[in-house]
Amino acid sequence: MITRSEIPQGQETQFVGLLTIEQKDKLAGQLYAPDSYFNPIQDGNEPPNWVISVEEIDQTVNEEFMWVKDLPLIPWISAKPINPFEDATN
């Protein structure tokens, strides 16, 4: 895990903020900025982690959720899409 300031410029999207289940529940459906909602998702680790993006962390201005700026960051591993028709749409 690293902190936000340690991410090299231009590599922000390769990292995500790691959430506990309780933190995920607090963020779901809540605004991080005007007209912008948190969207916690599960990554591709086993077991999966709940994470939010660096963009959400950086742009959070909602005083209630400023704690996201202190979240530990981990490399983003995409979950494999489960749609059975992924191949057919390629």
């Binding site: 005007p34 969207n39 959400e56 899409p81 749609n83 749409t89």
Partner: protein
Amino acid sequence: MMAGGVPLDPDAVAFLTAAGITDGTITTAIDTLVTDLKFYGLWSKMKAIYPFVGGTATTHKFNLKDPQDTNAAFRLVFAGGWTHSANGAQPNGTNAYADTFLNANTMLANTSNHLSYYSRTSSTAGVRVEIGCAIGNNVFHVRAAVNYIAGDLLIVSLSNVNAQGFWTGTKENSASRKGFKNASLTDFVTTNNTTLYPSLNIFIAARNDSGVPSFFSDKQSAFASIGDGISTIDVINYYTVVQAFQTTLGRQV
């Protein structure tokens, strides 16, 4: 409101007022966009138009056709990591999407509809969807530089090495589905299809898969629309209008 001593189109005024936009260049661009769409007979074929002007989530959320801040007006709700700028709305490809609240089943005729997405991003990497929804075999989406699918799994190719451009998939009738990059036809199918679309909201920058956003896009959008089916001539005119709009704003690709 006036521009150069000429009254603005009332639909342009409604949008600019709702979004709180007073910038002269954007005002001119929106007014010209609306009047051109009306001139070419395209305005009445649109259910939702997202011009992504003003540079913030609050200005980008409005539907030009009905700029009320309500779900029923198909105002966008942004979720996940977006970066909003004068160039448009940039999803992060990880968890960003926007809910249009436009139900593909109830709001679109299943044999006459279209989707469009103006991508400023060239990358074709990853399995991503720019706009659409799906339940199982019932797919309705546009993937920039990949394909357009409407009602089944029959693919209309949009294959290209560069995802930059204005991507349109249009179903003119049950036996005519066509894909376009800018004003150029990329592929078409004539197989009859009358499948009712999924009763799901269409998402932008992802596909609404049975209620779950999937295949997140990383392509910056400078325009998107949902509406009735449009003809080849319509698409050519549509590209002309939209590209002129982007050029006025200095963000054309």
